[in-house]
């Protein structure tokens, strides 16, 4: 009975979405205040019913209700409680419910934190989001209802959650990724509302910016978590594989990065308006495409969901209407947008344009590489695969070019910058970056690698550029501290995020070029040397987990004969599904990771294993954290809050809002 309530709750949410997708939009068109005012309470209602739905699914997992097909496929009575809970997003149906619930969460947030925007605009934004939610819920009910039952004979126990998903990284990665993904729907809805209302001005860009920044920050963390999870769970010690399922978040991220920069330009200078709107649509398309690729079975991939052509057609339909429709709207409305000002060839606008062009080209190349095998097949009937060499060959040079621009952009001025000024600011930065880039690898004793040197020069170029810019911006103030306080949050946010890029660059280059590994067979007491570390196998023992059995091998790690730590890699066999799994042992460090994957035990009793030393690998994710913090900091800038304060005074006069708006009034 209870799972049926979940379905019922979904249907109610669908009805509310249908209302939200029509009435407020029409109200905004016709100028009907009452209908526009429905948007906020409807959004809250949708959130409530989806929350009920997802709670019921979680309840079905926690209570081992294996008559629900989705539960039977992704859980088991032996599964530890925390994984029963997270198994909710362990498969297609449940994860799509989570995705839709996230959208409802964003809608609720828009309903609450939109007091500074005119009502018709809010009505349009929520209306567009309502239409999206409508299509998602319809898709769920029609092709992949997580509450479907197995009748008449439910299994006595479940098939268990995929062992690779029984892990903290999996608990965190999908919700975060979805949260970021879906966040771009909000920015998309803002863009569509702007197109619908014809209101594409600096105010629109200012409203969108905090949302775009927050969505981008969460997406950044989501991708980083995925990379981290792949690193320690999949056992090959890599952190990015250009997998068809990994690429769409990256494409969205690249468009999103272009978007937050373009939005800045639109807000500050009133230029690039149609371009910004287009980027908002593209970033959202990237997120939808990600869903399509993962869930349609179009591309084969190691971690695609089980495929079903019906789902593919349904998602393609959503894709066609949402993206095709919005691009058509764009084509009809964009010519009306006029730039408010001009700019010269050497100006910050120009550098931001370069940033946008590079990012969009990068996104397009990743997109092409991901879809090309399929497109090629559709056109010629031939079959090809595209691997990391293609992506690296295109992506790496583009990113290098981007970083060169990144060093100059923040120092340049709006509208017009003299070349002499840039040279005076950056010549020393350039010299020091070159020196540092060449010297650092040699000093830290890794040896010499041209590629690593180039990336280190680029990283130094960013960091020293930031330092030079902060110095220049505080130079005319009485003291350095006072100068710093005079700078805005969004300025610090930008520099923080840019610093994150430098940190990530260091991590990527040093890990890629100076990692070492060795595959060995070790018996008890045997030792292997790798770099400056010695690994000694001490013992091995059988282990019994809650839903698995396996072996654990104890390995002592020492340096120069001095014992440092004990690492215990495991091999597990999950009982219900019969799948084996390898649990890496990792000693994480700021400057290097030690990483052991356990192979099998040979007849002789010796264990095969691979040991790795990976310098600076943590810096990759550390950089992502800096970027996300930077974007969040920028989103909290005073000027967004100031607007809200001003709006509060106005509110008294708006009596209709006060009477009908039954949304939680968090702001007041």
């Amino acid at each position: 009975m209870i799972p049926e309530l979940g379905s019922f709750s979904l249907i109610l949410a669908l009805c509310l979405c249908g209302m939200l997708g029509t009435l407020p939009l029409y109200g905004a068109h016709a100028g009907n205040q009452v209908w526009m005012n429905l948007a906020r309470p409807l959004s809250a209602g949708i959130f409530v019913f989806l929350a009920i739905s997802i709670s019921i699914l979680a309840y079905a997992f926690v209570t081992d209700d294996f008559s629900v097909q989705f539960v039977a496929q992704h859980s088991n009575s032996l599964l530890p409680m925390r994984y029963k809970f997270t198994a909710v997003w362990g498969g297609h149906e449940g994860s799509f419910l989570l995705w839709t619930f996230m959208l409802a969460g964003w809608m609720l947030a828009v309903a609450i934190y939109s007091k500074s925007m005119p009502l018709d605009f809010v009505a349009r934004v929520l209306g567009v989001l309502g239409l999206l939610a409508f299509s998602y819920i319809l898709f769920m009910l029609a092709t992949s209802n997580p509450f479907d039952r197995i009748v008449p004979l439910p299994p006595s126990d479940g098939a268990d959650l995929n062992s690779a998903l029984q892990d903290i990284g999996f608990i965190l990665h999908p919700p975060t990724l979805y949260m970021g993904y879906v966040g771009f729907s909000v920015v998309f809805a803002f863009a569509i509302a702007a197109l619908l209302s014809g209101r594409m001005d600096a105010a629109w860009a200012r409203w969108s910016r905090p949302w775009a920044n927050v969505a981008w920050a969460i997406l950044t963390i989501g991708i980083a978590l995925g990379s981290w999870w792949a690193y320690y769970e999949l056992g090959w010690g890599g952190w990015w594989a250009w997998d068809p399922v990994e690429n769409p978040p990256l494409i969205t991220w690249l468009f999103g990065t272009a978007l937050i920069h373009s939005l800045a330009t639109t807000e500050k200078r009133g230029v690039f308006k149609s371009w910004t709107v287009l980027l908002a649509i593209l970033a959202f398309s990237g997120s939808l495409l990600g869903t399509f690729i993962t869930r349609s079975g179009l591309l084969t991939s190691v971690h695609a969901f089980a495929s079903d052509p019906d789902r593919g057609f349904f998602i393609l339909g959503i894709l066609g209407i949402a993206i095709g429709g919005s691009l058509l709207l764009f084509a009809l409305r964009a010519p009306m947008m006029k730039s408010d000002s001009g700019f010269e060839l050497v100006s910050r606008e120009m550098f931001l344009l370069a940033n946008n062009v590079i990012l969009v080209v990068a996104a397009a190349s990743v997109f092409l590489g991901t879809l090309f095998p399929m497109v090629y097949q559709a056109i010629t009937g031939g079959l090809i695969s595209i691997g990391p060499p293609y992506f690296n060959a295109i992506f790496v040079p583009l990113m290098m070019l981007l970083v060169v621009m990144l060093g100059i952009g923040p120092i340049s001025r709006w509208k017009k910058t003299s070349v002499g000024f840039l040279v005076s600011q950056l010549s020393r930065v350039l010299v020091f970056s070159l020196v540092l880039g060449v010297a650092l690898p040699l000093i830290v004793l890794f040896g010499f690698s041209l590629a690593a040197t180039v990336t280190l020069i680029l990283a130094a170029w960013i960091v020293l550029g930031i330092a030079a810019d902060i110095r220049a911006k505080t130079a005319n103030k009485e003291s350095f501290g006072k100068g710093l306080r005079g700078l805005s949050y969004s300025y610090f946010g930008m520099q923080f995020a840019h610093f994150g890029i430098a940190v990530m660059l260091v991590g990527v280059s040093l890990t890629s070029y100076f990692s070492i590994e060795r595959s060995v067979l070790l018996d008890a007491g045997d030792q292997v040397e790798l770099g400056e570390y010695e690994f000694t196998l001490v013992s091995s023992e059988r282990i019994n987990g809650p839903n698995y059995v396996g072996d654990a091998v104890t390995i002592n790690v020492s340096r120069d004969g001095e014992m440092m730590m004990t690492l215990v890699p495991e091999r597990r066999l999950y009982i219900a599904s019969g799948t084996p799994s390898t649990e890496m042992a990792i000693d994480a460090g700021f400057f290097r990771d030690l990483f052991i994957t356990l192979g099998e035990q040979r007849d002789s009793g010796a264990w095969s294993m691979t040991v790795y030393v990976k310098p600076f690998v943590r810096w990759i994710w550390l950089g992502a954290i800096f970027m996300a913090l930077g974007a969040t900091l920028a989103a909290t800038d005073k000027r967004y809050r100031r607007l809200r304060v001003r709006q509060k005074e106005k509110k008294q006069s708006n009596s209709i809002t006060a009477q009908l708006g039954s949304t939680p009034q968090v702001e007041t």
């Binding site: 090959w236 149609s274 349609s296 052509p309 393609l316 879809l371 031939g382 079959l383 595209i386 099998e600």
Partner: protein, 177 residues
């Protein structure tokens, strides 16, 4: 014209959507490899047993390159044919152990018998990408110059061997291979 350029995105998207729509209908298994009549891609990897192996270790005669994995049930179906071919010395068979784990692969060979001269251990599927592998099982016919001449996707049983591979091999021999 200036208005028309704003239609470029929607036109691009519609063409893409049409391709995706067509893509849903496609069966990737029907299709030939890009590498037909091209040399076998270069590789320097290890065997499933951990021995280093590269192009130079490939046979100097016509041989089969069979993509397999311990997880792959159809591979068991074609296994007897491969065993017969290698036991009767009809043609050497080289394995590509595709997206598998070496320990599982070794167990599989021990349990079922090993028809391969050696199996290249392609854990991350890199060689598979170079070959354009869709999935295991797949079998390539490679000539004595190391050029790929024929590709068969799916199970290689006695019928397929007689109908497809024997004529192709006869043709190669006629060329003086």
């Amino acid at each position: 014209m200036s208005r028309l350029k704003f239609f470029i995105p929607v036109i691009a998207f519609v063409s893409l959507a049409l391709l995706l729509w067509r893509g849903l209908y496609l069966d990737p298994q029907e299709l030939p490899s890009m590498l037909i009549d091209k040399p076998m891609p270069g590789f320097a990897m290890t065997t499933v047993e951990g021995e280093p192996v590269s192009n130079e270790d490939l046979p100097d005669q016509i041989f089969l390159l069979n993509v397999w994995g311990s997880y792959c049930l159809p591979c068991l179906v074609e296994h007897p044919t491969l065993m017969r071919l290698s036991e009767e010395g009809e043609i050497p068979v080289v394995g590509v152990n595709y997206k598998d784990r070496d320990d599982l692969a070794q167990d599989w060979l021990e349990t079922n018998g090993n028809p391969f001269a050696f199996s290249i251990y392609d854990a991350d599927g890199r060689l598979g990408i170079d070959l354009g592998v869709y999935g295991a099982p797949e079998t390539y016919l490679v000539d004595s110059n190391g050029v790929i001449r024929y590709r068969h996707v799916a199970v290689l049983d006695e019928t397929v061997w007689a109908d497809e591979f024997e004529p192709a091999i006869a043709e190669l021999r006629a060329e003086g291979q």
